[in-house]
Symmetry: D2
Subunit: 335 residues, 4 copies
């Protein structure tokens, strides 16, 4: 399961927790403008916007042509050079992928992020593309069946959620700029209303003359907040954290606050066992400065924030740049 978040201070930030019971060798990857990307049903695009994001890089695919470009990045999330960001989050039981439909833009689920980020500068343009899209039920390779996903797409000022379900493709405005997993987005928004009255202060007691009702702790105004890691509860918790978030608007404070917010919905190892008996855990957390192309991340094993700067790579080449996650050199010794 996962949690995605938008936050705006002076710059705009987008990122997510990736919660899974295993890793797939994901790396921060820059796909430059001349990387030639072949869509299964939509032909090849040879010139496009550059993208930085988290991806598993497929070195061997049915189509071997990616080898000389360094492999094909299968993006989990990312941002393009215009600040348009996207992330795919698990949506099991609700995502519905279909056979190709004539007259539509037929896109495999693993092609969704590059299809949008390579071609659109903002959400408005993305929505224009989304209205023609049909997400295909095809696998990247024999060994990789398509993951059931929904997507969040954001720019500085707007965010939408895309869900292709049995009853069609839905594009929802996302006024709070967050996403988790099941149930579908509109259910999450409806559920959130139940928690409208949670407060970040200790509101005055209703019957303050009664000694049985006296304040014994900070934070009583938010009693009723759900604390488990189910996707509805994480949605409520991150919404509350974001709504009430306070931080300075400089880069360090903003990035730091972003990771604090993500930590409040983190999946700690041991707290969530899957039906297969594995541990659903936050593999990485990311925070992208979408205005400046800076990809910050932490991993479960390395709390130190690490950053890859898109603009320190050559964006006009054909081959991807790969930055394997630094997972364990995290501790600074002060003496």
């Amino acid at each position: 399961m996962c949690t995605a978040l938008n936050l705006k201070t002076k710059d705009h930030y987008f990122g997510r927790n990736l919660d899974l019971d295993r890793s797939y060798g994901e790396e921060v990857t820059v796909m430059p403008r001349r990387f030639s990307i072949g869509f299964r049903k939509m032909g090849e695009i040879n010139k496009h916007f550059a993208i930085i994001g988290m991806a598993t890089v497929a070195e061997e695919s049915d189509d071997q042509s990616y080898r000389n470009q360094g492999g094909l990045p299968l993006f989990y999330d990312g941002v393009n050079e215009h600040g348009l960001s996207a992330a795919g989050l698990n949506f099991p039981g609700n995502a519905c992928y279909l056979p190709p439909v004539q007259g539509k833009d037929n896109i495999a689920s693993f092609e969704f992020i590059p299809w949008i980020l390579c071609q659109c500068v903002n959400v408005k343009e993305a929505v224009y593309f989304l209205e023609r899209i049909n997400i295909l039920n095809i696998s990247f390779s024999k060994d990789l069946p398509p993951a059931p996903l929904h997507w969040i797409i954001s720019d500085r000022d707007r965010s939408v959620v895309v869900e292709q379900m049995y009853d069609g493709l839905h594009i929802h405005e996302n006024p709070i700029g967050i996403l988790t997993n099941n149930p579908p987005f509109k259910y999450q928004i409806e559920n959130l209303k139940k928690y409208s009255y949670l407060r970040n202060d200790n509101a005055e007691a209703v019957k303050e003359d009664n000694p049985a009702y006296t304040s014994y702790s900070q934070g009583l105004g938010a009693v009723g907040m759900p604390g488990d890691v189910s996707s509805m509860s994480r949605f409520v918790r991150i919404a509350f954290g974001k709504e009430n978030s306070v931080c300075d608007d400089d880069e360090l404070s903003s990035v730091g606050q972003f990771f604090h917010l993500l930590a409040s919905v983190e999946m700690v190892k041991g707290s969530c066992k899957t039906d297969e008996g594995r541990w659903d855990t936050t593999r990485y957390s990311s925070c992208i400065n979408t205005d400046r192309g800076l990809y910050y991340y932490t991993t479960y094993g390395n709390r130190r924030i690490t950053c890859v700067d898109m603009h320190k790579t050559d964006l006009d080449i054909e081959s991807i740049s790969r930055y394997p996650l630094i997972g364990n050199k995290s501790i600074m010794f002060q003496n």
Copy 2:
């Protein structure tokens, strides 16, 4: 408000979140064996166990004699060279400090941690000292009234909570090795029972033939877990996290897991406003390897784990060693 935690893998770890609406210039401090410490009513001790811990170092006090030893550390938490650890946590409205009592060990609240850690090698010895203790209602200085505290004292195998209240001094065994704030510890333990049945897996549905009850998310077995930051809710959440914690037993994994557990009860800036309109925030998180005298910490502004090693200082000198918190050089640039 605060949260303290013990965790044992191969080594034993003790630490805490310090949640306050301001900082008091706290630093990691090593008090060596020959540091001469004068207790207000108990005379001077010139030779004792060395301590590493977080402290505000008082450079000016009524008694100026600490100047040549580098100042007097007022400990928030710490461990001695035998692995006995202690921390004071906020306990407003319940802590009750008293005038001196003849025949008792009369100790000011700000002397409590050094009194115990300087002289005891384990909880058994600490309890022996505690049975004679009377905690005094005296200020460190005119400007520093005593903070209302209760304490957790732990070694590898045992943990106790000490609460001096209007009805006397209580020493509670602490079988789960955690502490937060109000209400008194025995209330927290009683309240915890209500959550005995929270699970880290998706237990089988009671009526699994009913389509209305199908699993849509991981983590449903823990629905009902409180998610706010009041002290009772943090107690339940950290208890659940600890009980279910899974991690490798090497140093990096253990320390990392410890900080993940503390993050689940962190106070994010903006989420908790005090009655004075200030932000109750997690100032620092600490994790001490009590077997090896390693003090790890992070701050709200610096997620990178920083470590001070007690045994890299000279423990046989008279002056304290001070390590100001590294608060903002946290980010590693990967390109």
Copy 3:
């Protein structure tokens, strides 16, 4: 706000709580087979199934012709002689009534219950009617604007929910046979899943060797159940009560259990204040034996169950029979 419930023992029972901040003079009313009912856009029906239900009887209407039949019952809920039942429940902000549409059965919201119950013998037939229906935005009279409603329609074996919203008319199968208010039914069903794992027993503790987790009370398996009177919480609570309901199948036990279930979601006077400062309160609770045409009810002021038997009236006449609610003669003196 309101709660509706179906329960089957030997016979089938249907009923509801009516929760409002005032009363509208409702009475148990029998509409016999030859009562001539004129629909605003659908003409007159002179022969139809008889209905017993709770209704406000309009004695003065734009169309004065009802006077000689005893007035026009505006039904809140009811059952017909074939055991088909229906109830309207408040649905503010979501109900969407429309102008007449050619080719549709154009029915005012206050005509909905008689339109279905007069003509259909079971849910299957009702659904056939519902597929052609268009619910009109017209008032019963100048003083009575249409209430925003959704409906539950049930027979012994099947239940559906009807919601005409801005995006069209929805007919939902209702596998659990309950209804409250906002949000729309499919959201309620989705929300219910979060509570799949609530149990009516004290399941074994996960860590039963830990003394901190011992059972201190019955009912701990259902900790996490919401207890407030918001419509989502009442939905979860009545669903749990119904799923776990145990009772003998005779008439007295069944009717008694039905009222106990409704009491668990009752709105007690004082517990819920509307924005206008009035008390949202359970005005009446009803339980209809749909197989035998027995309408049982209690009121907020009279806990004693009172019964009106449809088949003790002449069902072949033209005029309604009215039974004003007995609101205050409830107490039996045993000495």
Copy 4:
């Protein structure tokens, strides 16, 4: 498990739910002033205040002398002619009964209610008696081991809770006038504070400009209220209901409101299974007008309120008056 409640309108009312997995043939019983009652260790009292209450009447006891007085009532709850009321509620694992102690009033648990109600006119006098009491670990008969109980004792203006535990006998002032079961009373009071901020209205939304936070239901101010039947949750729920209770002050309204409040914490059959697989159910609910000696009750099978008037019996005789519960003649037929 059980719930007890005090409520004052014009008169004062006291009563309770008795929640058990079986019945013991309880009856409303009047013990008149000249009923000769023999306490096991405290001798006989031949003249005392009259009591009305719910009791199992023991017709056969080790001491056969009660036969000619109609049997010995073992009271669950009751009131004396001066308006002092008392009830015993289940307190398993915490109640601690002791051997006789010289210099104390040694009273068996089954003698507790008559000991107090026979001799005291108000809580002040009761406390005077309580300070000398020692509750004995003796059985009424070979087949009836003592039930583990704590007690609530109330007059119009004051209420106390009595708990004899391993650490002594505690007398707690009870400012809210309610009692349930475990944990001990002071824990319940402490736990209640967590819910200080639950409201009976829809308080203004914190961020009302945000469309994600709009009010969709009445009652959102109390989201977070626990809805299960565990004893801590019932305590919170009845406290909220009482604090916010609104009703007219006449007899019918007051008694009706009392039963509505008790219904909000009722145990519905099927919702709570004991470890032995039996159904913990509300056997009876009672409401005593303590000013006028009127004992109102309902049973699980009979919602109609039935009343026994103490003052319609001869209070100056020697034999008890018994009123078996009317359990099933509850329904009024209106036609």
